[in-house]
């Protein structure tokens, strides 16, 4: 039990990681896949942030009153990673909107059935200047 409690942060992170990946693989709904992907990415934030925290540590302030401080580097890194995650999610959702417009569905099976080779060659989601 002590082993579990001592590494609780790691267990939580791994649980979220596996949950997210499982959702991506298992769900056919394109939005739910993106939700899973977000959970997966978020679990990594925990993996970075939790080892940086020292109990009783403060922000890195140079003053006599403060001796122990937590490493600020993971926070900086994860801020960047969060931005990347937000951009990915936004782009993914935008693509799903376009897929819904082009196919009339956001279920993976429907979409794949419609885009099978030989069928629907003239989808025309983007078109371009067709001759």
């Amino acid at each position: 039990m002590n082993v579990v409690l001592a590494h609780l942060n790691a267990y939580v992170a791994v649980f979220l990681m596996v949950t997210g990946l499982f959702t991506v693989v298992n769900r056919g709904n394109l939005i739910k896949k993106l939700v899973g992907l977000s959970i997966f990415q978020t679990s990594v934030y925990l993996l970075y942030l939790s080892p940086g925290k020292i109990i009783g540590g403060t922000a890195p302030i140079i003053a006599d009153r403060y001796e122990i401080y937590s490493n600020p580097l993971p926070h900086v890194l994860i801020l960047t990673a969060i931005v990347v995650g937000v951009a990915t999610l936004a782009l993914g959702l935008a693509l799903v909107v376009r897929i819904q417009e082009a196919y009339g569905s956001i279920e993976e099976d429907d979409v794949h059935r419609q885009s099978a080779p030989g069928e629907a060659r003239q989808g025309g989601a983007n078109g371009g200047e067709a001759p």
């Binding site: 990415q41 990594v44 990915t88 082009a102 794949h112 025309g124 989601a125 983007n126 371009g128």
Partner: protein, 493 residues
């Protein structure tokens, strides 16, 4: 001043040019900005290569912050070589983009296409040039996010699905890479690659370091489409606009392979660490699978661009084969194949783009008899096809020869046989196109097709010429590849 800041300029020029394209979207201005930026980037890469050859490894501290704490750009022969390949392919493709984008993409989206193209270029150059592990992830995502958009701008609605699939797979890959980097960081407390290298070597066999290696391997494999993780690639390359297919096929996977070299050999010290894990054996099996399974799948493709995409997966197999052998000769073969495959595959995609521009179809039958109507295009295509086979006098021969020699040095003669056998499969799928193009009666749009406009044709011919040039005069490419491989084997960075 400019010379001292070259490493920063290499990334900053395309990165600043990208929003300029978004602001000045009207008319030909985005294309002109892209042309200037991509040639400036190429000039930077050439100047950097000269500096590396003169002075050895170039180190640049961003903002003047000293190395392990600040972000360092560190360029040795390998980096400089990959920078040359990426910017070179970019510089050749941009002149082609003008007509190609006009015919494939709606007017209001053209400016955005160039914005994404430049962002992708900036991201790829950033991944290559940086000496900081987390910086690699950030630049990798800049290039990936923009390439998702490039692919989604493709020819029909299937491009959207291909882009979505690539986004899911690519993000999982990138997240695995961050996990790997995070584990390395918790173990060593540093993100600087050179610093990491010196610290990781003292931690041989630590479970966290091993799992970091595992996460990095899987993540990078996803990005470079190593055999069982390649499923996103054929759809993405097949549906992207011609310009984007050629650019991504020539550069994106190459940069991911560069990460393998960097992490396996520089950070984890090749011989001492990686060869004690099952990675070399695993790579050997997966590379052979890629060379045979993906090539066989390519034979049965109806869509020319899909065929070339599967062929890319097979060709990546040759490069990872060199990594799995791990000797200096094998690595030199892999590194030189980075350049060779970039030339061949970018060239093939550009020439297919020329044919598609005229016949407006992507299927093999649409190209019936096109060899008589577009002799220059098809002649160059055939030349690059021969190069893919590995006919002596072309670039494809040089890399296959080096891989074969490396395998023979290790006494693995069966592997030499397999390399030759896989060339036979290449002959099947490339030969099929050549047969259809020359020995069938032109029908449909192909019957009235004429050579594509010079703007489209010349870049393809340039790359076909390059495949001959670097096939006959190997002193430049092989000289650099040997130098880079020697540094990798010695673990010097």
């Amino acid at each position: 001043m400019i010379i001292a800041n070259l490493p920063a300029l290499q990334v900053v020029v395309p990165l600043v040019a990208a929003p300029l394209c978004a602001i000045f979207r009207a008319g030909h201005r985005p294309w002109r900005i892209t042309l200037a930026a991509s040639w400036a980037a190429f000039a930077c890469a050439v100047a950097l290569m000269r500096r590396v050859l003169d002075e050895g490894t170039v180190s640049y501290m961003l903002g003047g912050w000293e190395a392990p704490l600040g972000i360092e750009y560190r360029i040795d022969t390998l980096n400089a070589f990959v920078l040359l390949v990426v910017t070179g392919v970019g510089a050749v493709i941009v002149p082609y983009a003008k007509r190609s984008v006009e015919s494939e993409i709606q007017p209001d989206r053209r400016g955005w296409f160039y914005t994404m193209f430049l962002l992708c270029l900036a991201g790829l150059l950033g991944v290559t040039i940086t000496g900081d592990a987390f910086n690699i992830f950030v630049f990798l995502e800049i290039s990936s996010l923009s390439s998702y958009v490039l692919i989604a701008l493709g020819r029909d609605r299937r491009a959207l699905v291909a882009s979505y699939q690539y986004l899911i797979m690519g993000t999982i890959g990138a997240t695995f890479i961050v996990i790997g980097i995070g584990l390395l960081w918790t173990m060593t407390g540093t993100l600087n690659l050179a610093d990491l290298a010196s610290r990781v070597r003292t931690m041989e066999g630590a479970p966290s370091v091993l799992s970091a290696l595992a996460f990095l391997t899987v993540g990078i494999s996803l990005k470079l489409a190593l055999f069982p993780l390649h499923l996103w690639l054929p759809n993405a390359y097949a549906s992207a606009p011609s310009t984007a297919s050629a650019f991504l096929a020539g550069t994106a996977t190459k940069v991911a392979i560069y990460l393998f070299f960097r992490f396996f050999f520089t950070v984890f010290g090749g011989e001492n660490f990686v060869s004690k894990t099952p990675i070399p054996e695993m790579f050997l099996v997966l590379s052979l699978c890629a060379m045979f399974v993906a090539a066989t799948v390519a034979v049965f493709q109806e869509d020319v661009k899909r065929m070339l995409a599967y062929s890319s997966v097979a060709q990546i197999g040759y490069i990872t084969l060199g990594i799995s052998l791990g000797t200096q000769t094998a690595l030199a073969g892999s590194i030189v194949h980075l350049l060779n495959h970039a030339i061949m595959k970018a060239g093939l995609f550009l020439l297919v783009g020329c044919m598609v521009f005229r016949v407006r179809g992507f299927r093999v039958e649409d190209l019936a008899g096109i060899g008589h109507r577009m002799p220059l295009t098809m002649g160059a295509f055939t030349l690059l096809g021969l190069s893919m086979l590995g006919v002596p006098g072309t670039v494809g021969f040089v890399s296959k020869w080096y891989l074969g020699v490396a395998a023979a040095d290790l006494g693995q003669w069966w592997l030499v046989g397999f390399i030759m056998l896989s060339s036979l499969i290449t002959m099947l799928y490339m030969g099929r196109i050549v047969e259809v193009a020359y020995f069938r009666v032109p029908s449909g749009a192909a019957a009235t097709a004429t050579e594509a406009p010079a703007g489209l044709l010349v870049p393809g011919l340039v790359l076909a010429g390059a495949s001959l040039w670097f096939g006959l005069d190997t002193s430049f490419s092989l000289g650099l590849a040997n130098r880079a491989a020697a540094a990798l084997v010695a673990g010097v960075f």
